[in-house]
Symmetry: C4
Subunit: 191 residues, 4 copies
Amino acid sequence: MKRDKLGLDRIVFFSDAVFAISITLLALDLQPPLGPQPNRTASVFVELLPEYQSYVISFIVIGLYWISHHHYFRFIRRYDYTLVAINIGLLMCIASLPFATSLLDTYGNHRGVVTFYASCMVVTGLMKTLLWQYAAHNFRLIHRRLSRQRIRRLTRKAMIPPAVFAGSIAIATVNSDLAKMSWGAIALVLL
Amino acid sequence: MKRDKLGLDRIVFFSDAVFAISITLLALDLQPPLGPQPNRTASVFVELLPEYQSYVISFIVIGLYWISHHHYFRFIRRYDYTLVAINIGLLMCIASLPFATSLLDTYGNHRGVVTFYASCMVVTGLMKTLLWQYAAHNFRLIHRRLSRQRIRRLTRKAMIPPAVFAGSIAIATVNSDLAKMSWGAIALVLL
Amino acid sequence: MKRDKLGLDRIVFFSDAVFAISITLLALDLQPPLGPQPNRTASVFVELLPEYQSYVISFIVIGLYWISHHHYFRFIRRYDYTLVAINIGLLMCIASLPFATSLLDTYGNHRGVVTFYASCMVVTGLMKTLLWQYAAHNFRLIHRRLSRQRIRRLTRKAMIPPAVFAGSIAIATVNSDLAKMSWGAIALVLL
Amino acid sequence: MKRDKLGLDRIVFFSDAVFAISITLLALDLQPPLGPQPNRTASVFVELLPEYQSYVISFIVIGLYWISHHHYFRFIRRYDYTLVAINIGLLMCIASLPFATSLLDTYGNHRGVVTFYASCMVVTGLMKTLLWQYAAHNFRLIHRRLSRQRIRRLTRKAMIPPAVFAGSIAIATVNSDLAKMSWGAIALVLL
């Protein structure tokens, strides 16, 4: 259980870099789907809209995970190599989100792909919950002055997204559009 | 409204990383347009010139946004998650600029694309203005000792580029080359 | 032999960035190998499994090198430009690991490629050992209070992976699957 | 002329990130040139050698520029936005080096390309010299206690590479292989 400041900073820094690269690489998927002579102003916007829509959604999803990582790490004061390993597991999920999103983008109305995307989100969310649970258990790596109530609230908040996505996998066996709509519930619950 | 130093540092750091990745990825668009036997010295330079021209312009545009981000954040001392959200919105615009630029590069003489590029710049500029307005309003997140006059000057400066680009959208309905020339006005006004 | 804090921070930071970029770029290799109508849920998971398997393994390998870099640099307190040069050599190995891995992925049952991959790992491991040996020799760049015993333990630990991979090159001349299995020995010895 | 620590740190950080991304992206050029059945161990190494050779050289070139940036910035204590602009110009050169190198790689025996590569190196070297000259002139942005003699030595050292590359452009008009060999002179002079 190390307390060295630089060590913790490097972990946070490394995570930030992986988040930043993943989120910026999303722009590589923006492709000009224009015909050879895109002369009419309106048509350019209409043609580019779906491109940007998926870019914006993915950016917001990874951005929210970054904010959440930022938020939870504010309470973490020490580290051990188990925390580092869990954190790398979380980053592995984050870095693969652009792929899962582009898959959903291309095959959005197929049940298998919707289930796959939801599974990715479940695993990512569980990783975050695990990270927090490990750090907070008996104040293992967090600040002593954090109240038990607050810790529990943070745990609950971490568990909402994976729970909703797990539920949506069940819904997807009936209707995949309904499953996608259920994802909106996360926004409603978290706000 | 948090005051923790590490929290603000991570936001600045994350932004820097996104800027750095976006600006460096511009180089991926450099493509050797050479024929099989580029023997003559002069012709190599002539063929590579347009490649480099668009690279240099995009690099300068993103570089200027980074300088501006650097400049405005020097006055920001605290953060809340609204600021983080606006900042992520700004980064989303920045990360998509290489795409907008390459679009302009390929279809530069089409009015729709010129309008699209100008719209991207308007949104990016407004995001920056919003970030500053939010932070500076009633000294919400900035240093108390900043004079009201200076705050207003910084707000005005942030609003010039989106205003010019918005004007150029109107000009583009008449003539898209004229619209592009009007963008040079930003350099004149800001210097 | 410089002691300036910022100088050492930049070296660590630069290394972290190279690690983070290399590990995140692994996700670019994730390709949707799906047919046009991936309707059945199970088949999507089955088809994506090999993609993810190689992604996860490569992520863990680079992640372990990062943890190890993090661990060894905690003891390094000063730097000189020889250390910087060795560190850049190590980063050169790290940045090329995704290529070596994708090669192994594609031609995994060919002896030449297995030998090539093992050689890459030997060179990377030797670089790390060299870095540590250079820094630790006569307490050149490390903390004085580190016991000689601990230094030796760290040296031994750094030498295990290259030794195992070197051994697997010999094994590969007989059987390349056996060679690959021998790599698992590293996990056993290090845990 | 600002003295704020965070401001200077961000400039250094942003530069490090651009260097790190440029140097890591070099690995994207590593391509498996293997035939369908690379069974013989020796042939795999022989086929991959030229790939790695150009990767290693480019990595060392950018690595040396990073070391040099690291070295010169140790003496810079303040910044103004002219320094920031010159630094962005230098980064623009650095980020385009992988392209210039891959060009040299593909068309290495054509005089025009050799001249182009040497010109890139001249511009990059001059940018670095300009950065240093601007910062050091009348101790504008550097530490006061630096001796004039040391400043001059650092200036001379910065000017050697662009001078050699400029000379090689003249040599290339006669023989491009001789020009390439002359680049080795830099290593000899700097060591």
